[in-house]
Amino acid sequence: MTDGMSTDAPLLVAQGLGKTYGARIGCRDVSLDIYPGEVLAVVGESGSGKSTLLGLLSTELAASTGRVSYRMRDGVLRDLASLGAAERRLLMRTDWGFVRQNPADGLRMAVSAGGNVGERLMAVGWRHYGNIRTEATDWLGRVEIAADRIDDDPRAFSGGMRQRLQIARNLVTKPRLVFMDEPTGGLDVSVQARLLDLIRGLVSELGLAVVIVTHDLAVARLLSHRMVVMRHGRVIETGLTDQVLDDPREPYTQLLVSSVLAA
């Protein structure tokens, strides 16, 4: 979608991914592709292995089996295990984003809002203070944080604002792939709605590929194109999001879908 890359070529390819914690299985034999501009939701109950899968895809966790490949900006698909630590760190800071459930895990809480956003820009070589500040202000505006809060640190922010700041910090470098781990978890419903609307708008505007882990099927329906249902560390059902939610096939998926309270 961007950089003239064909949307027919996957951005990220996982093959036979597995992770064991001693005798316990976190995740096993997961294969999936993520294409430019698409949102893939990973759903399942607590302990189903979804966060482990996110950790493996983003290489934060070392896989016990299988591998993850990523199409670098030069168009070459590379096995992420073959990258050096420095190369991988650069990828994480520039071409990828990671929005965590708890903003305190994704932000530097003692650094100003502007600094949180500007730091990622400096990591990709921005040096001019004025430009960084202008860009940071612009991004704070895009996530609906008033410009006069730029020098406040996130400890003074509400939960919803912190989460929006975390999104700005992640998107300022125009990543192509963003991992999200329950980004709306723990927020009030009205705050959630605002955040979801914001994410939805930015994802389509920037053509981002997103892997979002959520246990909230309404969030998955709103944001994702395709869906993966996990149970006991395995992928048990996949398909278009509306297919899986409206015509679930597996007993466990039927249970998940039927367990949601209609508001």
């Binding site: 609307d197 194109h225 996949t238 398909g239 278009l240 509306d242 015509d247 007993p251 249970l255 039927s258």
Partner: protein, 291 residues
Amino acid sequence: MSTNDGTGLPPHPALRADLSPLGRGEKGLVSETGRSDMSDQRPLPDGERGGLRGEGANTQGPILSVSGVAKTFVLHLREGARLPVVSGAGFELFPGECVALGGPSGAGKSSLLKMVYGNYRVDAGHIRVRDGEETVDVATAAPRRLMTLRATTMGYVSQFLRVIPRVSALDVVAEPLIGDGVSRETALERAGALLARLNLPERLWSLPPATFSGGEQQRVNIARGLIAHRPLLLMDEPTASLDAANRQVVIGLIEEKKRAGVAILGIFHDAEVREAVCDRVIDVTDFAKVA
């Protein structure tokens, strides 16, 4: 991604509601499964008026061809109870025609429509949709292929609007056009024109439709479903909650789509609407359910 110009409606004349009665009574609505040769029922893509179905109709063949489709719901939470929906469903749909799925409640009309859209999966058979130079079998297509098919070729107007928090009615309607690559400004302008035509008060346009009445929500939904050009449109009771005046507007919009060569498959419980826009009826009860 798509090469179409995003013109959901013919530009200007289209903005005037065509309220003239279209005199379709004489055609009668024949129940058939659609397997027979229907070439004499196909209108020219640019549309002949008054139900006259001329010879020389398009020779491109069907845009939708359903064959041998079977579906049974298996309810695992009810001891694996099996609910057969349809089996051996088969029919064709040609550009420029509007075909109603008929039959009593529970006959499987909505399910069949959802299978064509790829929303429900099928157990057997083929649902072939012509997508430009290609033919896509919805029954077996990969999810990503279905996504592009829906983005360019196949639209669905559901019975109810799925309300998205904080998104205004105008944005809800404009979204498919923006997805087609039309500029936001033009898309919003066209969305406004369509909402005006559907008599949605302008003071509502900037509000999220969550608090709208059923009829207002349905008009937003219809506008969203019809604003962009999709050669195949699936409509599930598009006029269920509308008053007589707005039903007439929707009839006019559907007629325009047909004249633009769009093929429409729908569920139309309202006899007035069905008789005004449908060229024939496919009786879903013919697709005997076999458990």
